[in-house]
């Protein structure tokens, strides 16, 4: 006969408001096998946990049901408490009478009955719970960081400084990301290059960091502590060991008219190039799509002029496999483009702004390049169409953001601040120019942020107009901005020389494909999902994968850096032990019954099912069966549900236990 203890929590009033907890406790006492039942206001608090520990010892309990919140919330808490009182933690189960009962019902009578039934079901389950021991797996103490923007760089440096090896993978020829493109940064107006480029150099020089630029993630196998990651190093056509970065090849390349995407296509670059002079590594790549040699077989100038003989046209893409223990994803963002979107896309583009065909309507990043001292205009604000200095500039906020009809309902978070910064930079460089800003709300939560925004209005002369813009059109060499001023209730028309759009922050194109390789989840916009919005903000639900920066949601530099350091701390916590303990709630295959249909292998979302050969003592193959790798199994139970011969069972969720729960109803 079992001796099960039932502990019912009021959760303040969250449960007791709708559930008569005393009645549930009385009813629980009468369930066969229950030796003890009680209720308490906050079971998760210190006195509440002590109540449980004391009862385990005094009542000699061999199983526990805590009727409280969701197991996602406090299952670990109570299992730990029970363990400290000497009970195997896997004999503790949660009966969720909050999310599944008190929060969703109003009728006290019915809710109380339901809570009692939930408790009864869990008691029946606990009776059949087995004592489980945690699974231990070894940890490879090498981290992979995907993305070499500020978030990836910060995470890589933190982990490397702690003494662990880091592999940093960047898609572009240089690390630096968006931050390397910015001119000044809010709210201090310090130069982005001046704070970014030293960090880039630190990465290049760090003995614990292996840098793969111009590379992409090809494949990810394995599980927490034991990933095998295949990295595709795209052919650079330049030998990194031989190249001295002298730059003669770039100077002599006859093909110089390729729009430089780092300068938002405002400047030109040769076919053999580094994206910007401060690039890390300072080794050029050949853009094979635009290179005359690769297109027609003629030219070859760069190879001829290269002193150390580093240019190598025969280089091929290379696959490198790295053993990795933890992965930090920091793939960043891109900006919404107002151009026409493919039919059926949830994102719509802006026909009313001419679908991006008016040359002096630019986005915020293009303005950054115009304002940047190392940009295509040397820091002069000159409009793209005719190189004239614009005397009236109109800034539009929330283009794409907070616009459900355009396919995005979220706030991009950084635009209010960078637009305020843009008006300041513009005023600093064009003293008699006038900046107008159309805005919905000024969202400036952050240290020194609101003061910064006020400064743009009070000291830097920006005119803020609360309202939206319905249309932009070209009239001669002006752009007519038709908008509304909702404070005055009038329509406004401004003839501007240049219009700057604060377009929405979106995840990188292909973010969903990378997520599928990593087995992590993402939201409807392709932003990566954290395990818990408040309490686990830098971890993925997939063990061993962490998030940093704007790939998880729009973020400014301070937030990206903080999250990157937090992700690095999580990786270091993981690396602090040689072996890793994992939840033993994993599937096990009964070799005798398995018919080797491998349905389980097809449905397993974790790729945990393998084929196992069973041989006799002479080594003759008897049969092949399914085998679940406990290090990889996520304990979801999909295999159990799909197995036609009922040969797979999840510890703690056996068919027998589930049937017992149903019968208890």
């Amino acid at each position: 006969m079992s001796r099960i203890g039932v502990f019912i929590c009021h959760c303040g009033e969250n449960i007791s408001r709708t559930v008569d907890v005393e009645r549930v406790a009385k009813a629980a006492e009468k369930i066969s096998g229950v030796a003890y039942a009680c209720e308490y206001k906050y079971m998760c608090s210190d006195p509440g946990q002590n109540l449980l520990k004391k009862a385990v010892i005094d009542q000699n309990l061999d199983g526990i049901v805590v009727a409280a919140c969701s197991p996602r919330m406090h299952e670990k808490t109570f299992r730990k408490a029970a363990q400290s009182a000497g009970l195997n933690p896997y004999l503790v189960e949660m009966a969720n009478i909050r999310e599944h009962c008190s929060w969703v019902h109003e009728d006290r009578e019915e809710a109380t009955t339901k809570a009692t039934e939930i408790v009864t079901m869990l008691v029946e389950r606990v009776k059949m719970n087995k004592k489980l021991q945690p699974i231990t797996v070894p940890v490879t103490k090498r981290a992979l960081v995907i993305g070499g923007g500020i978030a990836g760089i910060q995470a890589a440096l933190d982990i490397a400084d702690c003494g662990h090896h880091v592999v940093l993978v960047e898609r572009e020829p240089s690390i630096g990301g968006h931050m390397a493109q910015l001119s000044e940064t809010f709210p201090t107006l310090d130069c982005s290059q001046c704070i970014m480029t030293p960090k880039m150099v630190d990465v290049a020089n760090h003995p614990n960091i292996t840098l793969h630029t111009y590379s992409e993630i090809e494949n990810v196998d394995g599980y927490i502590g034991n990933f095998q990651v295949t990295i595709k190093k795209k052919a650079r056509s330049v030998d990194m060991d031989k190249c001295t970065g002298c730059g003669v090849c770039m100077a002599k390349c006859p093909q110089k008219k390729i729009p430089n995407s780092f300068d938002k296509d405002l400047g030109m670059r040769p076919a053999i190039y580094v994206p910007f002079p401060q690039a890390v590594p300072n080794t050029p790549v050949i853009d094979r799509e635009n290179c005359t040699y690769f297109k027609s077989g003629k030219c070859g100038v760069c190879q001829k002029v290269c002193g150390p003989g580093a240019v190598d046209y025969t280089q091929e893409d290379q696959l490198v496999v790295e053993d990795i223990g933890a992965i930090v994803v920091a793939t960043g963002f891109e900006l919404y483009s107002i151009g026409e979107k493919p039919k059926g896309s949830a994102i719509k583009g802006y026909g009313e702004f001419g679908h991006g065909k008016i040359p002096d309507v630019i986005d915020g990043m293009t303005f950054e390049r115009l304002a940047s001292a190392s940009g295509p205009t040397g820091g002069k604000i000159l409009r793209p169409s005719d190189g004239k200095e614009p005397q009236q500039v109109v800034f539009l906020q929330c283009v794409g953001s907070r616009a459900r009809e355009k396919g995005i309902s979220y706030c991009s978070k950084i635009c209010c601040m960078y637009t305020a910064k843009h008006t300041m930079l513009y005023h600093h460089k064009v003293h008699d120019g006038q900046a107008y800003v159309f805005f919905m709300d000024a969202r400036t939560p952050g240290k020194g942020y609101d003061e910064f925004w006020r400064r743009s209005i009070e000291d830097e002369n920006a005119v803020y107009i609360r309202g939206a813009v319905s249309r932009l059109y070209q009239k001669g060499d002006k752009i007519v901005v038709m908008g509304s001023d909702i404070a005055l209730g009038i329509q406004v028309e401004i003839e501007a020389d240049m219009v700057v759009l604060a377009t929405a922050v979106q995840p990188r194109q292909g973010a969903d494909l990378l997520a599928q390789k990593l087995g992590i989840s993402y939201d409807m916009y392709n932003f990566y999902s954290e395990a818990h919005a408040k309490l686990r903000p830098v971890e993925c639900a997939t063990a061993g994968v962490y998030l940093a920066g704007a790939c998880q949601g729009p973020k400014d530099i301070p937030d990206s850096v903080s999250q990157a350091s937090a992700a690095a701390a999580k990786v270091m916590t993981l690396f602090a032990k040689d072996e890793l303990e994992r939840e033993p709630i994993v599937a096990k295959v009964n070799d005798k019954n398995c018919v080797a249909c491998f349905y389980c292998k097809k449905v397993c979302p974790y790729g945990a099912v393998e084929e196992k050969e069973i041989r006799d003592r002479q080594g003759n193959l008897i049969k092949v069966v399914a085998w679940v790798n406990p290090g990889v199994c996520g304990g979801c139970g999909t295999c159990q549900a799909s197995c036609p011969s009922k040969s797979v069972e999840l510890d703690g969720y056996t068919d027998e236990q589930i049937m017992a729960q149903i019968e208890a109803l």
Binding site: E340, Y350, G351, E352, G354, E405, R471, Y473, K475
Partner: protein, 293 residues
């Protein structure tokens, strides 16, 4: 000869009155293209702007009644007037997912609703059903050298999810259709601005200001003429053009054609049957200059 396509036809009030030339040129063009048009017998006014401003049920019921009347006539319902098109599409859109409104309209009409007949603007019939390639082949007299400002106005493409004719904010269907004649569609800024619509009766000053900007924009773009698909826009840009010139001190002399007038001319329909004489700004000097008549 047998017709290639058959449609039921809802001309609307304007096409039997102030926009007779739109009706004439539509009939002429469609005959030349061998597209059959059968007018819906005993059709009613669509309610236009006044009905839906005063009483939504009235406006929905008028359109639902017209759709009911059109049901027995063969073919999808062809509509020329941008406002009638908008009202009929709006009624279909609003009644599609609203049980309560459907019940009210059924009660008002005392008949089951018959909303299923596809409502198509002439542009859609020409560009999609008939097809631009076939249209280009049917154009016997190219309008080479004629620069046309295609004017959509408010209702042809908006609101975004109702007419489903083309992209609401950056449409190209008029440009594509007139392109079949060899005429050049100019790129201009005021294709989708409001002309002032029926403020023409209550506050003509508003119309004069707004329509002036449209004419000025068309001239800036180098257009010889404006092409419309809406009788009210036509009224404001053509009939009021003299007043606009007086008020603004500008001299536009900008003929405003219905799209079917230009297409029919190109398809070889006799210019005497296209109602050019009922336009306030005579197109004759322009057409002679371009050797199109």
């Amino acid at each position: 000869m047998k017709n290639i396509l058959e449609y039921s036809y809802y001309p609307g009030c304007s096409l039997h009155a102030s926009a007779k030339e739109y009706d004439e040129s539509t009939q002429g063009l469609f005959k030349a293209l061998r597209i059959g048009l059968k007018e819906v017998p005993d059709w009613l006014c669509c309610g236009a702007t006044p009905a839906h401003n005063v009483d939504e049920l009235l406006s929905l019921s008028l359109c639902a009644k017209n759709l009911e009347l059109a049901k027995p006539v063969e073919g999808d319902l062809a509509v020329a007037c941008a406002a009638c098109f908008s009202r009929l599409k709006t009624a279909q859109h609003k009644l599609a997912g609203n049980e309560e409104k459907r019940r009210q309209v059924e009660y008002a009409l005392d008949a089951p609703l018959a909303l299923d007949k596809p409502v198509k603007h002439l542009l859609e019939i020409l560009a999609k059903d008939f097809g631009l390639e076939r249209l280009a082949e049917a154009m016997k007299k190219p309008l080479d050298g004629l620069k046309v400002a295609c004017y959509y106005g408010c209702l042809l493409t908006r609101p975004a999810d109702v007419p489903e004719l083309d992209c609401a904010e950056a449409p190209t269907i008029m440009e594509r259709v007139i392109g079949a004649t060899g005429a050049e569609a100019v790129s201009w800024s005021h294709r989708l601005e409001c002309c002032g619509a029926n403020f023409t009766l209550s506050r003509p000053g508003v119309v004069i200001q707004l329509s002036n900007e449209i004419l000025a924009s068309a001239r800036r773009a180098g257009a010889d003429c404006i092409m419309v698909a809406c009788p009210l826009c036509h009224g404001n840009l053509d009939i009021r053009q003299k007043e606009i010139e007086e008020a603004s001190g500008e001299k536009y002399n900008m003929p405003v054609f219905y799209m079917t007038q230009l297409l029919a001319l190109s398809a070889g329909v006799s210019p005497t049957r296209l109602g050019f004489d009922s336009m306030m700004v005579s197109p004759m000097p322009l057409l002679r200059e371009k050797q199109l008549i």
